[in-house]
Amino acid sequence: MTAGLDPVIHAPNRLQMCCMLAGVDDIDFATLREALDVSESVLSKHIKTLEDAGYLKIRKTPSEGRVRTWLALTPAGRKALKGHLAALKALMAGAEGGVA
Protein backbone atom coordinates (compact mmCIF):
# COMPACT_ATOMS: atom_id res chain seq x y z
CA MET A 1 0.00 0.00 0.00
CA THR A 2 1.35 3.44 -0.97
CA ALA A 3 2.30 5.73 1.94
CA GLY A 4 -0.61 7.82 3.22
CA LEU A 5 -3.27 5.56 1.74
CA ASP A 6 -5.46 3.89 4.34
CA PRO A 7 -5.93 0.18 3.54
CA VAL A 8 -9.27 0.14 5.39
CA ILE A 9 -10.71 2.85 3.14
CA HIS A 10 -8.90 2.03 -0.10
CA ALA A 11 -11.27 -0.62 -1.53
CA PRO A 12 -13.46 1.19 -4.13
CA ASN A 13 -16.78 0.37 -2.42
CA ARG A 14 -15.51 1.44 1.01
CA LEU A 15 -14.02 4.62 -0.44
CA GLN A 16 -17.40 5.47 -1.97
CA MET A 17 -19.19 4.57 1.28
CA CYS A 18 -16.90 6.84 3.29
CA CYS A 19 -17.32 9.72 0.82
CA MET A 20 -21.10 9.46 0.99
CA LEU A 21 -21.06 9.15 4.79
CA ALA A 22 -18.74 12.17 5.06
CA GLY A 23 -21.29 14.34 3.28
CA VAL A 24 -24.15 13.57 5.67
CA ASP A 25 -24.86 13.09 9.36
CA ASP A 26 -26.16 9.58 8.74
CA ILE A 27 -27.59 7.43 5.99
CA ASP A 28 -29.69 4.30 6.23
CA PHE A 29 -28.52 0.86 5.18
CA ALA A 30 -31.06 0.41 2.37
CA THR A 31 -30.29 3.82 0.82
CA LEU A 32 -26.55 3.18 0.91
CA ARG A 33 -26.98 -0.32 -0.56
CA GLU A 34 -29.06 1.10 -3.40
CA ALA A 35 -26.63 3.97 -4.02
CA LEU A 36 -23.65 1.63 -4.22
CA ASP A 37 -25.58 -1.03 -6.13
CA VAL A 38 -24.21 -3.89 -4.00
CA SER A 39 -25.84 -6.82 -2.22
CA GLU A 40 -26.77 -6.69 1.47
CA SER A 41 -24.06 -9.20 2.35
CA VAL A 42 -21.35 -7.23 0.53
CA LEU A 43 -22.41 -4.00 2.23
CA SER A 44 -22.55 -5.72 5.63
CA LYS A 45 -18.96 -6.94 5.15
CA HIS A 46 -17.75 -3.44 4.32
CA ILE A 47 -19.65 -2.01 7.30
CA LYS A 48 -18.03 -4.56 9.61
CA THR A 49 -14.55 -3.68 8.30
CA LEU A 50 -15.14 0.06 8.81
CA GLU A 51 -16.78 -0.48 12.21
CA ASP A 52 -13.90 -2.69 13.43
CA ALA A 53 -11.47 0.08 12.44
CA GLY A 54 -13.52 2.57 14.47
CA TYR A 55 -14.46 4.53 11.34
CA LEU A 56 -18.18 3.92 11.40
CA LYS A 57 -20.94 3.74 14.00
CA ILE A 58 -24.29 2.02 13.70
CA ARG A 59 -27.62 3.12 15.18
CA LYS A 60 -30.85 1.16 14.92
CA THR A 61 -34.26 2.81 15.16
CA PRO A 62 -37.77 1.33 14.95
CA SER A 63 -39.69 2.48 11.88
CA GLU A 64 -43.17 1.32 10.93
CA GLY A 65 -42.86 -2.07 12.61
CA ARG A 66 -39.33 -2.81 11.44
CA VAL A 67 -35.84 -1.78 12.42
CA ARG A 68 -34.00 0.78 10.32
CA THR A 69 -30.19 0.80 10.47
CA TRP A 70 -28.47 4.18 10.33
CA LEU A 71 -24.77 4.51 9.56
CA ALA A 72 -22.52 7.45 10.41
CA LEU A 73 -18.82 8.19 10.02
CA THR A 74 -16.96 8.67 13.31
CA PRO A 75 -14.52 11.58 13.80
CA ALA A 76 -11.69 9.02 13.36
CA GLY A 77 -13.27 7.87 10.08
CA ARG A 78 -13.61 11.44 8.88
CA LYS A 79 -9.96 12.15 9.71
CA ALA A 80 -8.81 8.94 8.00
CA LEU A 81 -10.81 9.78 4.87
CA LYS A 82 -9.30 13.27 4.73
CA GLY A 83 -5.81 11.78 4.93
CA HIS A 84 -6.64 9.15 2.33
CA LEU A 85 -8.03 11.70 -0.13
CA ALA A 86 -5.02 13.95 0.39
CA ALA A 87 -2.72 11.00 -0.36
CA LEU A 88 -4.70 10.15 -3.50
CA LYS A 89 -4.45 13.75 -4.71
CA ALA A 90 -0.72 13.80 -4.00
CA LEU A 91 -0.30 10.58 -5.98
CA MET A 92 -2.32 12.07 -8.80
CA ALA A 93 -0.22 15.25 -8.79
CA GLY A 94 2.93 13.13 -8.79
CA ALA A 95 1.67 11.07 -11.71
CA GLU A 96 0.80 14.20 -13.68
CA GLY A 97 4.20 15.74 -12.83
CA GLY A 98 5.86 12.54 -14.04
CA VAL A 99 3.99 12.66 -17.34
CA ALA A 100 4.79 16.37 -17.88
Binding site: P12, Q16, L88
Partner: protein
Protein backbone atom coordinates in the same frame (compact mmCIF):
# COMPACT_ATOMS: atom_id res chain seq x y z
CA UNK B 1 -0.26 -1.26 -16.52
CA UNK B 2 -1.75 0.28 -13.36
CA UNK B 3 -3.99 -1.83 -11.12
CA UNK B 4 -7.40 -0.09 -10.84
CA UNK B 5 -7.14 0.16 -7.04
CA UNK B 6 -3.72 1.83 -7.22
CA UNK B 7 -4.66 4.22 -10.00
CA UNK B 8 -5.32 7.55 -8.21
CA UNK B 9 -7.26 8.98 -11.18
CA UNK B 10 -9.62 6.00 -11.12
CA UNK B 11 -10.06 6.23 -7.32
CA UNK B 12 -10.72 9.98 -7.44
CA UNK B 13 -13.30 9.32 -10.15
CA UNK B 14 -14.99 6.90 -7.69
CA UNK B 15 -15.00 9.71 -5.10
CA UNK B 16 -16.65 12.11 -7.54
CA UNK B 17 -19.22 9.48 -8.51
CA UNK B 18 -20.10 8.93 -4.83
CA UNK B 19 -20.53 12.65 -4.24
CA UNK B 20 -22.68 13.02 -7.37
CA UNK B 21 -24.87 10.12 -6.21
CA UNK B 22 -25.26 11.73 -2.78
CA UNK B 23 -26.14 15.10 -4.34
CA UNK B 24 -28.80 13.34 -6.44
CA UNK B 25 -30.37 11.79 -3.35
CA UNK B 26 -30.14 14.67 -0.85
CA UNK B 27 -33.06 16.60 -2.28
CA UNK B 28 -35.89 17.51 0.08
CA UNK B 29 -39.50 16.90 -0.93
CA UNK B 30 -40.83 19.99 -2.76
CA UNK B 31 -43.06 20.97 0.19
CA UNK B 32 -40.27 20.69 2.78
CA UNK B 33 -38.82 24.21 2.56
CA UNK B 34 -42.23 25.96 2.30
CA UNK B 35 -43.40 23.98 5.36
CA UNK B 36 -40.28 24.99 7.31
CA UNK B 37 -40.81 28.56 6.11
CA UNK B 38 -44.41 28.59 7.37
CA UNK B 39 -43.42 27.12 10.74
CA UNK B 40 -40.68 29.73 11.16
CA UNK B 41 -42.89 32.54 9.90
CA UNK B 42 -45.45 31.53 12.53
CA UNK B 43 -42.76 31.83 15.17
CA UNK B 44 -42.34 35.50 14.25
CA UNK B 45 -46.05 36.16 13.71
CA UNK B 46 -47.04 35.03 17.23
CA UNK B 47 -44.66 37.52 18.89
CA UNK B 48 -46.57 40.02 20.94
CA UNK B 49 -49.59 37.78 21.44
CA UNK B 50 -50.58 36.28 24.81
CA UNK B 51 -47.79 34.33 26.51
CA UNK B 52 -49.91 31.15 26.68
CA UNK B 53 -50.47 31.33 22.91
CA UNK B 54 -46.75 31.86 22.26
CA UNK B 55 -45.99 28.85 24.49
CA UNK B 56 -48.54 26.69 22.65
CA UNK B 57 -47.05 27.75 19.31
CA UNK B 58 -43.52 26.91 20.49
CA UNK B 59 -44.76 23.40 21.36
CA UNK B 60 -46.47 23.06 17.96
CA UNK B 61 -43.32 24.41 16.27
CA UNK B 62 -41.18 21.77 17.99
CA UNK B 63 -43.55 18.96 17.02
CA UNK B 64 -43.66 20.30 13.46
CA UNK B 65 -39.86 20.31 13.26
CA UNK B 66 -39.65 16.72 14.51
CA UNK B 67 -42.26 15.68 11.91
CA UNK B 68 -40.38 17.50 9.12
CA UNK B 69 -37.09 15.80 10.02
CA UNK B 70 -38.84 12.39 10.15
CA UNK B 71 -40.45 13.00 6.75
CA UNK B 72 -37.12 14.08 5.23
CA UNK B 73 -35.36 11.01 6.65
CA UNK B 74 -38.11 8.69 5.40
CA UNK B 75 -38.10 10.22 1.92
CA UNK B 76 -34.33 10.51 1.35
CA UNK B 77 -32.93 7.83 3.69
CA UNK B 78 -30.40 10.26 5.11
CA UNK B 79 -29.99 13.35 7.25
CA UNK B 80 -27.71 16.35 6.80
CA UNK B 81 -27.17 18.88 9.59
CA UNK B 82 -28.01 22.34 8.26
CA UNK B 83 -24.99 23.81 10.04
CA UNK B 84 -22.49 21.36 8.50
CA UNK B 85 -19.15 22.87 7.47
CA UNK B 86 -18.86 24.60 4.12
CA UNK B 87 -21.03 27.08 2.25
CA UNK B 88 -24.06 25.41 3.84
CA UNK B 89 -23.03 26.72 7.27
CA UNK B 90 -22.86 30.28 5.96
CA UNK B 91 -26.36 29.96 4.46
CA UNK B 92 -27.83 28.36 7.62
CA UNK B 93 -26.28 30.92 9.98
CA UNK B 94 -27.31 33.72 7.63
CA UNK B 95 -30.93 32.54 7.72
CA UNK B 96 -30.94 32.10 11.51
CA UNK B 97 -29.48 35.58 12.09
CA UNK B 98 -31.92 37.15 9.62
CA UNK B 99 -34.93 35.53 11.31
CA UNK B 100 -33.63 36.60 14.74
CA UNK B 101 -33.22 40.19 13.51
CA UNK B 102 -36.73 40.16 12.02
CA UNK B 103 -38.08 38.91 15.35
CA UNK B 104 -36.35 41.67 17.29
CA UNK B 105 -37.45 44.22 14.68
CA UNK B 106 -41.14 43.28 14.82
CA UNK B 107 -41.14 43.35 18.62
CA UNK B 108 -39.61 46.82 18.54
CA UNK B 109 -42.10 48.05 15.90
CA UNK B 110 -45.02 46.62 17.84
CA UNK B 111 -44.06 47.75 21.34
CA UNK B 112 -42.29 51.02 20.63
CA UNK B 113 -43.87 52.28 17.43
CA UNK B 114 -47.28 50.73 18.16
CA UNK B 115 -47.56 48.95 14.80
CA UNK B 116 -49.79 46.03 15.78
CA UNK B 117 -49.54 44.19 12.46
CA UNK B 118 -45.72 44.23 12.41
CA UNK B 119 -45.42 40.56 13.59
CA UNK B 120 -47.71 39.41 10.77
CA UNK B 121 -45.65 41.23 8.15
CA UNK B 122 -42.41 40.03 9.76
CA UNK B 123 -43.76 36.47 9.82
CA UNK B 124 -44.58 36.60 6.13
CA UNK B 125 -41.12 37.97 5.31
CA UNK B 126 -39.44 35.31 7.49
CA UNK B 127 -41.51 32.56 5.81
CA UNK B 128 -40.38 33.69 2.35
CA UNK B 129 -36.73 34.04 3.43
CA UNK B 130 -36.62 30.58 5.04
CA UNK B 131 -38.39 28.97 2.06
CA UNK B 132 -36.02 30.52 -0.49
CA UNK B 133 -33.07 30.02 1.87
CA UNK B 134 -33.84 26.30 1.98
CA UNK B 135 -33.43 26.03 -1.77
CA UNK B 136 -30.26 28.15 -1.62
CA UNK B 137 -28.95 25.82 1.10
CA UNK B 138 -29.55 22.78 -1.11
CA UNK B 139 -27.72 24.44 -4.00
CA UNK B 140 -24.82 25.26 -1.64
CA UNK B 141 -24.78 21.64 -0.46
CA UNK B 142 -24.56 20.33 -4.02
CA UNK B 143 -21.75 22.79 -4.79
CA UNK B 144 -19.89 21.79 -1.61
CA UNK B 145 -20.15 18.14 -2.62
CA UNK B 146 -19.02 18.81 -6.19
CA UNK B 147 -15.93 20.67 -4.91
CA UNK B 148 -15.22 18.21 -2.13
CA UNK B 149 -15.83 20.80 0.59
CA UNK B 150 -17.47 20.42 3.98
CA UNK B 151 -15.73 17.19 4.95
Amino acid sequence: MTHPETDPARMLAEVEAARAELARRAIAPVWYHPALGLLTGGLVAVQGTQLSFVGAYYAAFSIGLVMLVAAYRKRTGLWVNGYRAGRTRVVAIGMAVTVALIMVGVLWLQRTAGIAWAPLLGGAIAAVIVTLGGFVWEAAFRRDLAEGGGL
